[in-house]
């Protein structure tokens, strides 16, 4: 009898362990890919591991055309994205999609079916950034510091990029292909420039651009044709002039209050972005080496982290913080005109995107919202069709 009782303790203990494991489990990847527009369609992450194409909403409603991976399609049951952090890139009828642990895909834009797939087994590390697409190649980096450049047509290694380049630190930011040059930022604070055509053996810059103290570059964006936005978790935001392909010039080194891990909005030489202290800035990049705030003071999001990039519509800056609250800020004065909380939809980490003078907001639970600058309201888009 006693032995039986002792044996009964075993499953009870195991159950307790499982419960405890659930309570203290690790953070799972959820992704934060921003929506993308092309033609009459919007592409967004309907859940953390599923990309959807839908018609651009009218009257707050839309229907899904396709989803990838499609759980009803047996051929796609092994496509497990886990999470998507980089916004998909669309070029020549193909949607290029990077996933955290499921590899990199080229999807037919019309059907959502894969044209090619660089499987995760062929990639060292996880992919956090999106794909840099241009000049016939697709570039992506991994968390363990490998940079891959493949043909946009077939996913095979591109000419002069037969083996992945091993950088000293992880690549989390989207690589950028611009005017035949590939720009790659690393979590060790380096920004490299390579000729797409010539491969990695002769970097275009003698020394890479380096952030102060090696602060990680977790995001990267083009401000305009000749300026790169280089934010860092060392609280600095750099604007790097790339008008001369063979040498960079640091045009602005602006200091924020906390980590900056976001893309900016940019208009009339002013870049707008938020930081992890919840401060939102408007910095003129032509006003000296430290930049110049055009507002009297940063707008505060009440201390809530700003991870998502802001967007501009109708002379209004629209920002979402982690709470999440969507704020409407006058572009010129920095005056907050309205703040609309979103409840029951997870948080907002994905960059906001402007289309047709309204701003689209995607939450971590895959819900789609529209921020209207005219009446400073936020409405949810009703998404129908296949789920």
């Amino acid at each position: 009898m006693k032995r039986r009782r002792r044996l009964a303790i075993l499953p009870a203990l195991i159950a307790l362990v499982f419960l405890a494991t659930a309570c203290v489990g690790t953070v799972n990847p959820e992704g934060w890919a921003a929506p993308v527009f092309d033609g009459n369609n919007i592409y967004f992450l309907q859940s953390h591991n599923r990309l959807a194409q839908a018609a651009i909403p009218t009257d707050g409603k839309t229907n899904l055309d396709w989803v990838f991976p499609d759980k009803n399609n047996a051929a796609e049951k092994d496509d497990k994205l886990q999470a998507v952090y980089g916004a998909p890139t669309i070029a020549d009828g193909v949607v290029y999609l990077t996933s955290y642990s499921g590899g990199v895909y080229a999807l037919d834009q019309a059907t959502g079916k894969p044209k090619w797939h660089v499987k995760s087994g062929l990639i060292s590390g996880n992919v956090v950034g999106g794909a840099g697409v241009g000049d016939g190649v697709v570039a992506f980096g991994t968390t363990d510091g490998h940079l891959y450049v493949v043909n946009a047509s077939d996913g095979e290694p591109a000419a002069n990029w037969q083996s992945p380049v091993h950088l000293s630190d992880g690549v989390w930011a989207d690589p950028i292909v611009h005017n035949g040059t590939l720009y790659v930022g690393t979590m060790g604070g380096n920004l490299y420039a390579y000729s797409v055509k010539n491969g990695p053996n002769n970097p275009l810059w003698g020394e890479p651009f380096h952030t102060e103290g090696g602060g990680a570059i977790a995001d990267l964006a083009m401000l305009d044709d000749t300026h790169l936005f280089v934010p860092s978790i060392n609280k600095h935001v750099y604007v790097v002039d790339i008008s001369n392909a063979s040498a960079f010039k640091t045009q602005v080194d602006f200091t924020a209050s906390d980590w900056v891990w976001t893309k900016p909005a940019f208009k009339d030489n002013v870049m707008y972005f938020g930081d992890f202290a919840g401060d939102i800035y408007a910095v003129d990049i032509t006003a000296g080496p430290k930049g110049k705030m055009i507002w009297p003071a940063p707008v505060t999001s009440d201390g809530n982290r700003v991870k998502s990039g802001p967007a501009i519509a109708d002379n209004m800056l629209i920002v979402a913080d982690r709470k999440p609250t969507v704020r409407f800020i006058d572009l010129k004065t920095g005056k907050q005109l309205n703040a609309v909380p979103i409840s029951g939809a997870g948080t907002v980490r994905a960059d906001l995107v402007t289309h047709d003078n309204v701003v689209y907001v995607v939450t971590t639970s895959g819900k789609l919202y529209i921020a209207h600058p005219d009446n400073r309201s936020v409405t949810e888009v009703q998404v129908g069709g296949r789920q």
Partner: protein, 292 residues
């Protein structure tokens, strides 16, 4: 509840994360080495508590035969309780002595576990979350994200080798902390613990990042060393015998500092007279009574 959580975060978790990252920077940017150094340092800092706990446990086990005698002798629960408490007093043992230090250590251990888990995020979201726990000192801020590989192993994910090592080291720690008992029921309990604990922690290790398992393995190895210091080590199979190096002041010697094969001898060993620093068979309280 939120306030307790906030105090825990500000007073324990955030300093521990900072300390881990400082160690990481000092130890060649190896987070694996930082975890090892951190665990050893924390164990050394909490050594006085650990020793008190081990000594209290040993003293409790030493008087078990006499407690058994009392249990047999007195059927009235109240009288039995009084006699047992008297025994505790005579032996200078606080029945909560082995629990108190453990309770004090628990928040420290929990914060340590949380710190390792946060600093070694498995997803980009974890780095974002870590930002809220880092002091604004550039020496710390520039160190993230931390190197997540150690000896070819991804510290962010579970690893079978670590699962096995967790089981082995937990078993070793449990075995070295068990002393001889005469009661069959207690013996059975000890045996069950010796096998259940490794199984339970191996289950934990299956789902936890290897960095946390690494912490647990080092923690257990240090625990084994402490146990050997306090209880000694006797392995008749290989004729190995190490006497306890740390003999507690004011507590009775262990019956036989072994639970490994000579329990029969322990069962027939007469219970030694309890001696304390206060004099033969007398506790502090008894001395005070005598003086008054």
């Amino acid at each position: 509840m939120a306030e307790i959580s906030s105090i825990f975060t500000v007073a324990l978790l955030n300093p521990m994360i900072a300390f881990l990252i400082i160690l990481n920077n000092l130890l060649f940017n190896s987070f694996g080495l930082a975890i090892i150094a951190f665990t050893i340092i924390i164990r050394l800092v909490t050594l006085p508590l650990t020793l008190r706990q081990l000594h209290a446990t040993r003293s409790m086990q030493t008087i078990q035969p006499r407690i058994q005698e009392v249990n047999k002798k007195f059927s009235d629960p109240r009288r039995r309780q009084e006699e047992i408490m008297k025994l505790y007093r005579e032996a200078g043992v606080n029945p909560l002595g082995c629990v108190g230090p453990m309770i004090i250590q628990l928040p420290i251990l929990w914060a340590l576990y949380d710190a390792v888990r946060l600093a070694l995020g498995t997803a980009p979201e974890a780095l974002e979350r870590l930002s809220g726990h880092l002091y604004t000192w550039s020496y710390l801020q520039h160190a993230v994200p931390l190197q997540d590989h150690f000896l070819g192993m991804d510290l962010r994910t579970a690893n079978w080798l670590m699962v096995v090592l967790v089981a082995i080291t937990t078993w070793a720690q449990t075995k070295t902390s068990t002393t001889a008992v005469v009661d069959d029921k207690q013996k059975a309990q000890q045996q069950m613990m010796a096998y259940m604990m490794p199984i339970v922690f191996a289950f934990f290790a299956l789902s936890f990042p290897s960095g946390v398992s690494l912490y647990w393995i080092v923690n257990s190895i240090v625990g084994v060393v402490f146990n050997v210091f306090v209880y000694g080590l006797h392995i008749p199979m290989i004729n190995l015998s190490i006497d306890p190096l740390l003999k507690p002041a004011g507590s009775a010697p262990a019956l036989v500092a072994s639970g490994r094969g000579d329990s029969a001898a322990a069962a027939v060993t007469p219970v030694p007279e309890l001696r304390t620093t206060n004099g033969s068979s007398r506790s502090k309280r008894q001395n005070r009574r005598r003086r008054s």
